[in-house]
Amino acid sequence: MRYSGFRILKEALTGHKGWGHAWRDPEPQASYDYIIIGGGGHGLATAYYLAKEFKQARIAVLEKGYLGGGNVGRNTTIIRSNYLLDGNEPFYEFSLKLWEGLEQDFNYNAMVSQRGIINLIHTDAARDAATRRGNAMILNGADAELLNRDQVRAMYPFLNFDNARFPIKGALMQRRGGTVRHDAVAWGYARGADGLGVDLIQNCEVTGMRIENGKILGVETSRGFIGAKKVGVAVAGSSSKVMAHAGMRLPMESHVLQAFVSEGLKPLIDGVMTFGAGHFYVSQSDKGGLVFGGDIDGYNSYAQRGNLPVVEDVIEGGMALMPMIGRARLLRTWGGIMDMSMDGSPIIDRTHIDGLYFNGGWCYGGFKATPASGWCFAHLLAKDEPHVTAKAYRFDRFLKGLMIDEKGQGAQPNLH
């Protein structure tokens, strides 16, 4: 069913009787051409593009819980393509361009809103680094601007300009950055994929992989064996657990990243702001809540919850940046589990097992990557070759010394 202005009008006047299921709840078939493990944003996007752009069929998405229940449902909704390195920037810019056309493409209002993102600058060295980054962005076809202190002040006069421990000296801005209604991304892709014949199978946990002679034959699940010609894994946060079914050890650790939302407030902050010196970033949702976060807790965890030191550290950063938020209240905190990779960048690659493909290692940056990740993974699954923007995201980059390390922290996941 296509959503349209006419349809809304008609349904409103007839008691909304006509809206059907956003997606079906099919029983799993005995086998598929493609099985995507993971019904989060990346898995659903992969299935959607596999069917729509690469014209493949007989596709199933297996989700152990409910659709969109992973990190696509528990992030801080930011989109941007302000990356530095050659391996990353073309991919994230591709993703941002897909965001820009996404709602018309899948006929679902995911509230893609390009209200701009700024990264605050506090030192001359940071300005040099921002200049390098901004130039790299423009060289890759993205947009970037360097703002001085007065320009930042004009945008956000209530920041702490006059009594700050780390005075604001400017900002790197990407006007095309912004936010998206995260759940709607999962639902839009799910509805789109379902409409293209993809079977979305919820409450179906993969418990094993059937691999013979170096080739995958299918997956064992809580709902029985399901055969597949190709299996794509997109379960960021649980990647090591799922890939252990194939006997693989991955270059990553699972970490908890907490996120925070305040009570609803009248408009304060139009765009997205990051305060690197204070480990704090913030935007305001359309509903009015300040959505913010900071560093990961820093220890391996699958608990989907964190501890007080990071809660206090993040909010201290917020208060240092914006001392006017003291009387707003924290409404809710939650935690997501990140695949923290060894260089802070993701992997979209084949494995040594024929027919088994992997997508993961997104660290805390997976949400903004969702469309391109789905597209590139579908490309790899359908054509057996990497998409041009994702060709650096290989497993063997660590063996070859071709890391994509934006932060320059090396092989310590909790520092990325």
Binding site: R24, L265, P323, G326, L331, R332, G401
Partner: protein, 981 residues
């Protein structure tokens, strides 16, 4: 100004009258009132507007679960949005205003949304606002953003302070109702260190809101007695106005104490709130239960509230919410409200009891098997429509309606570790799952034991068990007799056939929305929440979640537990960000580290710069200098001409001693130190295990088994940590000891042709070139004071670094300047330091960026392959050893007058500005007063083979494109003659 709805009794102090304003109008109340109870006493039921439809809203509760009566409390910089009037303690002079309405609470223009409710269904926005494509951001979203939100912030800095505190206890008891007081008495009498925290300003919980007795006392009097006994025990800490907000790992709880929120402003020196981290051996949750409504058509009018809250207003606050009151219930607790109100003289016009049988209330119109079908009243309830058991309907005039759909145990904190509560049919509610939070037990209503007797008994039992597990013995309890009424409930969630029956009255989620979610297959509880926004409001669904779940269960035909459970997340109730931020604001956000010469530099008028937590002298202006470049150029030229002094204390310093010290250094540095002669320094390159350069600096061998290593300022802490890892974990049997001496030594660089002459005046030993050659190091004395001297240079000049114990640092800078006067010695800051190191071609932070190899820096030969060292093997990977990889180069503008910008990228002449033509970037840039033009360092692909090439430095951010020449990174004295002078 009359308190028209005030009735007798209650726990308010009628001897004092408090004045307050709401929406500009003056009212009176009493100590012990909340803002909500005082407004209700004054006949004000309308206190807010709902989020989406802007429907009129009054309080539905008398506690922290309140979703409706949200106001902006106080004014000016202290204005706080979304304050629940039901928990805001009244004080003299309080001002509050309604929010999320325009132009006024009684006439709200956006109430027009309610007329369009058939369009604004659950998730309507996902299906629309897409045409034309550009209109979402330009038109629709800005309108939505303006309309959304609840209260407002003033954007003024919060004038109050907040503290953080740490408490330790054997047993933390959360909630001071009958169960909590009982537990606290048992635990406190045993001698255990007990903390009893309650969010209310008066301990006692529901005992303060009920009429029944404990023993021969009123419940509130018994609570007062218990509190009095507890406060007499030195091992018990009572914390009122303290909300335990979250359960964290290993017995740690976060709690916020509202120290001053009941005052017009904090007393001098007092914080507004304190955020406590409570470390407990055991914790007991006695957080009580929260009543839930029954949904029916138009059940959201001001005057309709939870029956137990109606009762609380009457019993605790002496307030009759309406002159004619009706009750709608599916359980016996609703009958208790009717009885209490009637005994207070309130006109109870009808009790609508959805159950067919059971007790018949005497003297009250008790309609069994009946339902409330709907309500009327524009800004507050005026009547309800009742459907009798026989199907006939009747309109009954009522200005207050108490609704009781049963009580939900407050399981919230027990699910903070993501465990799921379990369903109990007998009380039609979820109770805590067991054991998911280690060392937390639950008692009383929070555990599903809903009678007062049960609360007292289970509180005592759970405390006994906790004491026993701690090895403590409890004394015999002396529990009073208390009511022990059984829970009699026939679940009834919503009146069949209703549509616009509110489940979540803040977010305007109705039965109709849940039906639509079901129709569209958003049936999993998480989808339901996210699609309809049920339970996402400021109350986190305390009164609505279970109801919504039950409605969905009814639609799917599954049981409630099969439909799902709700998981509450911290905090229990919203916590002011200021409290979580504490004192770390403004200049106090992070500590300052000051160098030993800071005071002297300050006296001289130095300009400081943040380097991590350090403040360093950036430059030191002299009279007549108008720009920073004037000062920096002077400092550089004076140093190169004669002598300059720089405080380099911030560099990390590590003493490394032991018979294996040399061997240890060989492991952790890419180059070799075991062969270094005693009394000499060597530059070292430290790699990470992944082969990238981690840090650099000089290491001096002060004795056979004694080295002094320096690190960069930025990596002082991480290098030391890494060395301890190597020492303790990788080579645990090496005889080597480490100590960080960064703070122990004040260290100054003395550089320039006259450096030796200056220092010779200061030190006691001969430091002639013969006695103290280039790269020499040794222990010396300065006027008899022990000191260290290193002949090392970062500037390219003849230079030394001299270190004295930190407490002599201030004296040392004064001594050096005094001795240097005859040489016109200057102090140079970090800017001049940067100029001179780039003139000399030394790498620093912008080049040591964590993604550079020794090869990139032109230092590939330093990585010895004759020995094992950290990073040696992985530095040999193919991607890191390409001949045409990045190399450090020098850069100068072809036109000497041209300016450059760090962060510019290198492109060949004539190529398009595209990523595939990107050849590298300019890392560090300075103006060289020595050379009279800008010079720079950069990383360039195949750079060492491109010396002399002319290309472009492009800064697309500023639109500049400058012709440059690639040169050697050593701009001055490439042969090092000055160094060795």
């Amino acid at each position: 100004m009359s308190q028209s709805n005030r009735i007798s009794g209650g726990l308010i102090d009628r001897s004092q009258t408090l004045r307050f304003h709401f929406d500009g109008l003056p009212y009176l109340g009493h100590p012990g009132d909340t803002l909500a109870s005082a407004l209700l006493a004054n006949g004000v039921r309308l206190m807010g507007r709902s989020f989406k439809y802007h429907r009129p809203r009054g309080p539905i509760s008398a506690g922290s679960e309140e979703p409706n009566a949200l106001v902006e409390l106080r004014s000016g910089a202290r204005q706080e949005p979304n304050t629940r009037a039901t928990v805001a303690e009244l004080f003299d002079g309080l001002t509050a205003q309604s929010q999320n309405r325009w132009p006024s609470l009684k006439f709200d223009a956006l109430a027009i949304n309610d007329r369009f409710n058939s369009f604004l269904t659950a998730g309507f926005y996902y299906k629309t606002f897409m045409w034309p494509a550009s209109f979402w951001e330009k038109v629709y979203e800005p309108i939505i953003r303006r309309a959304a939100g609840l209260g407002s912030l003033t954007k003024l800095e919060d004038p109050d302070t907040y503290d953080k505190g740490f408490l330790h206890c054997d047993i933390l008891i959360i909630g001071a109702g009958p169960a909590g007081l009982s537990a606290a008495l048992t635990a406190g009498r045993s001698g255990a260190r007990v903390i009893l925290a309650d969010e209310d300003f008066r301990m006692g919980g529901r005992l303060n809101a009920e009429t029944f007795e404990l023993g021969d006392q009123a419940g509130s009097a018994w609570a007062d007695g218990a509190v009095a006994e507890l406060s007499s025990l030195p091992n018990v800490r009572l914390m009122t106005r303290t909300t335990v907000a979250g359960a964290f790992d290993h017995g740690i709880y976060g709690a916020v104490e509202r120290v001053s929120d009941h005052l017009i402003e904090p007393a001098p020196g007092k914080p507004r709130q304190t955020f406590w981290r409570i470390y407990s051996q055991r914790a007991i949750l006695t957080g009580g239960a929260t009543e839930r409504p029954i949904a029916f058509e138009n059940n959201d009018r001001p005057g309709i509230m939870l029956a137990g809250s109606l009762r609380a207003y009457a019993n605790r606050w002496g307030v009759a919410v309406g002159d004619k009151t009706a009750i709608f219930t599916n359980n016996d607790d609703g009958l208790r409200t009717a009885r209490d109100l009637q005994s207070k003289g309130v006109d109870v016009v009808a009790v609508i009891d959805s159950r067919e049988g059971g007790e018949l209330l005497p003297g009250i119109r008790h309609l069994r098997g009946a339902e409330v079908m709907g309500s009327a009243g524009r800004l507050g309830l005026s009547s309800i429509t009742v459907r009798h058991a026989d199907g006939k309907t009747e309109v009954i005039k009522a200005t207050a309606l108490g609704v009781s759909g049963g009580w939900n145990p407050n399981v919230n904190i027990t699910s903070h570790h993501r465990s799921r509560p379990i369903w109990r049919d007998d009380i039609a509610a979820f109770v805590p799952g067991s054991g998911e939070i280690a060392n937390l037990s639950v008692a009383g209503a929070a555990a599903g034991t809903l009678s007062t007797h049960g609360a007292l008994v289970t509180g005592d039992e759970v405390a006994r068990a906790a004491l026993a597990s701690l090895g403590l013995t409890a004394t015999a309890a002396n529990l009073p007799k208390a009511e022990d009424a059984p829970v009699r409930i026939t679940p009834m969630w919503y009146v069949k056939g209703s549509n616009r029956a509110w489940i979540d009255s803040q977010n305007d989620v109705t039965v109709k929305d849940i039906k639509l979610a079901h129709q569209e297959n958003f049936t999993s509880v998480e989808h339901l929440k996210r699609y309809t926004t049920l339970g996402m409001a400021t109350d986190q669904g305390k009164t609505s979640n279970v109801l919504g779940l039950a409605v969905m269960a009814g639609l799917t035909g599954k049981s409630i537990p099969d439909t799902g459970t709700t998981v509450y997340r911290p905090p229990y109730t919203p916590v002011a960000l200021g409290a979580l931020g504490g004192r770390g604001r403004g200049q106090e956000f992070k500590p300052f580290r000051l160098t030993p010469s800071h005071k002297w530099a300050q006296e001289q008028g130095a300009v400081f710069v943040e380097v991590g937590y350090w403040l360093r002298t950036q430059w030191l202006p002299k009279a007549g200098e108008t720009t920073w470049r004037d000062s920096v150029d002077r400092e550089v030229l004076a140093t190169r001409k004669s002598v300059g002094i720089c405080d380099v204390t911030t560099l990390g310093k590590i003493d490394i001693q032991g018979t294996d010290a040399g061997a240890f250094l060989d492991k952790v540095y890419a180059n070799t130190f075991s062969t270094l002669a005693v009394g000499k320094c060597r530059y070292g390159l430290m790699l990470r295990e992944d082969g990238m350069v981690f840090d650099d600096g000089t290491t001096a061998r002060m004795g056979q088994n004694e080295y002094v290593t320096t690190t960069t300022t930025a990596n002082a802490v991480t290098v030391f940590r890494h060395l301890e890892f190597c020492r303790q974990v990788l080579w645990p049997d090496m005889d080597v000891q480490l100590i960080s001496t960064t703070e122990a030594w004040a260290q100054f660089s003395v550089a320039g042709p006259n450096a030796r002459k200056l220092l010779q005046k200061v030190v006691d030993q001969d430091i002639s070139d013969a006695a103290f050659p280039y790269m020499g190091a040794g222990n010396i004395t300065v006027g008899g004071l022990r000191a260290r001297l290193f002949r090392i240079s970062f500037s390219g000049e003849l230079a030394y670094e001299i270190a004295v114990p930190t407490r002599y640092g201030d004296a040392m800078i004064r001594k050096l300047m005094e001795a240097g006067a005859e040489f016109d010695a200057v102090v140079y800051g970090t800017e001049a330091l940067g100029v001179m190191r780039i003139e000399k071609g030394h790498v620093a932070g912008n080049e040591l960026n964590g993604t550079s190899t020794a090869l990139n820096m032109g230092l590939g030969k330093m990585v010895s392959r004759k020995k094992d060292s950290i990073g040696m093997v992985l530095s040999q990977r193919e991607g890191m050893t390409r001949d045409d990889g990045l190399r450090l180069v020098g850069v100068k503008p072809v036109n000497p007058a041209a300016e450059l910008k760090a962060g510019s990228h290198f492109l060949k002449t004539g190529v398009a500005a595209k990523a595939e033509n990107d050849d590298g970037w300019l890392t560090s840039l300075v103006y060289s007063p020595h050379l009279g033009h800008y010079i720079a360092l950069g990383y360039l692909k195949d750079g060492s083979n491109r010396i002399g090439e002319k290309m472009r430095a492009v800064n697309l951010l500023a639109g500049t494109d400058t012709e440059i020449e690639i040169v050697s990174p050593h701009f001055i004295d490439p042969e090092g003659e000055r160094l060795r002078a």
